[in-house]
Symmetry: C2
Subunit: 330 residues, 2 copies
Amino acid sequence: MAEILHDVVGIGNAIVDIIGRCKEDFLVRHGAPKGRMRLVDAETVTTLYEDMGPGMEISGGSVANSMVGVASFGGRAAFIGKVADDEFGKIFAHDIRAAGVTFDTRPSSGGAPTARSLILVTPDGERTMNTFLGVSPELAQGEVDADLISSARIAYLEGYLFDRPEAKAAFRQAADIAYKAGRQVALTLSDPFCVERHRSEFVEFVRSRVDILFANEAEIIALYQTHTFEEAARIARSATKLAVLTRSAKGSVIFHGENATTIAADRIKHVVDTTGAGDLYAAGFLYGLAAGKSIETCGRLGSLASAEIISHIGARPETPLAKLAAARGI
Amino acid sequence: MAEILHDVVGIGNAIVDIIGRCKEDFLVRHGAPKGRMRLVDAETVTTLYEDMGPGMEISGGSVANSMVGVASFGGRAAFIGKVADDEFGKIFAHDIRAAGVTFDTRPSSGGAPTARSLILVTPDGERTMNTFLGVSPELAQGEVDADLISSARIAYLEGYLFDRPEAKAAFRQAADIAYKAGRQVALTLSDPFCVERHRSEFVEFVRSRVDILFANEAEIIALYQTHTFEEAARIARSATKLAVLTRSAKGSVIFHGENATTIAADRIKHVVDTTGAGDLYAAGFLYGLAAGKSIETCGRLGSLASAEIISHIGARPETPLAKLAAARGI
């Protein structure tokens, strides 16, 4: 069995976020479903960018954000994802490495550009994402580094990867490597629209390969096509060893075997931007799990990281999470 | 005489800021003088970027920030500055136009890249800038649009332009156009190091061409080589019609003819990042002046804009300044 060198290795889209503020009617005018992620082509991303207000560029990508969060807690994190050899690719690679995450996927050149997501934040702090994937899905199978994946306690996979066949193949390969190496496989469902696009495949994948499932209310309801959260939660509970279900301001509930643990959300004064709330909850939870903490502590670390991220713009922590956890005695 | 279409036209470096946090020892290790701007070459900017923590990219440039501030107050602002036809150039052009500023300078292609400034913010909120000018100084004289400059009540020039001969030529040309069109010429001294590099030229330019001079304590002392702020202020007072001197937390003092008006700084709870404090003070002041407000009101608008900008990361306002001014009844 390979040596454990990392707590978590994440596989996901490598994206730079362009974050701007807008009013509700902007979303309506551009047909962007509020609070969701939609995929857009090169032409749409250009039109939308021209019409949106001033932005700020901050590295993003759901699982990439989580890996930065794990590192910010002091965990050993690695990331696999594809960028191009352009300015945005350089920004992404710099930021994730500077955050202390192992990142060795080679940038591609001469093809599609690095992925970007235009993230529009409405006055209520909710984010709506318009993602142009660019080169991101072109993760060749050889780039899913078997040694790296085997070196981590947990492999964390992003549901968004299912949106492109090449990325889905890499996703499945990574899960197989982790499974065969006796590691834990964790999955985030990413987005309810994404779940709807790939529902039956997700159900089967969760059943057969996933040890730890992360989902929010809308995602788990979409996955199991139920009317209520409670019904969906009941199915999730029997389908995986650990189902970690987040409920925004209502906190989270974690099902593990016969037990259910409820964690309150950390209260914050003013929600500035919800981008990355789920990603950072997962970061805290996964960090805690890899460090052998109790389920309750894992959940509290998730809530703490989530509260930090929604109190400012962008999905990368501004305050070291290890410091926040220490201050709270967790 | 040309029609007035703008309140202020600014001429300056077109820069994208890459803002990150660091401890004091990082500045010492890299020989970056705290609180100042230094020019760095392509190699140094690469080394520094590799060594610095995660960043966020936000459009910047001193006078460009001021023009965005004028527009945020509801004023009509224009900007002249050079970017390249690359990702950073696209970001700069998008952000300034999206903020409502007229920006028509053509991007260059095939040469130097768009300027960037690595801005390191220490725990006290002070910013230290490392600027790679790239294509920015290559403002050909033909690009200093005489019609545009003549269309504005005030032409606002950036001292930083003196750092490169081509930019200095454009600067002088812009000042001549404004002067001959009977417009007001405003100058910011930009930075004490910049003043030291071009002291005698600045003294002569202020004496012969400048109607409104903006400087902070360190800059005005460097310009007139005095021991105290009071001595420097006395010389500034006799050299220009309007000397607007900012003193950080001590507020500002404005000398106009026989009169001196003192304005208190707006109190804010926590200084996050001082980047743009002077730029936004100038924005408020120039907006007020073009709108025919009293000197005291101009100063209060400056303080208000300055307080907004230091309460968050980046030198572009996050809250519309017109709204803040209205809420305060200014």
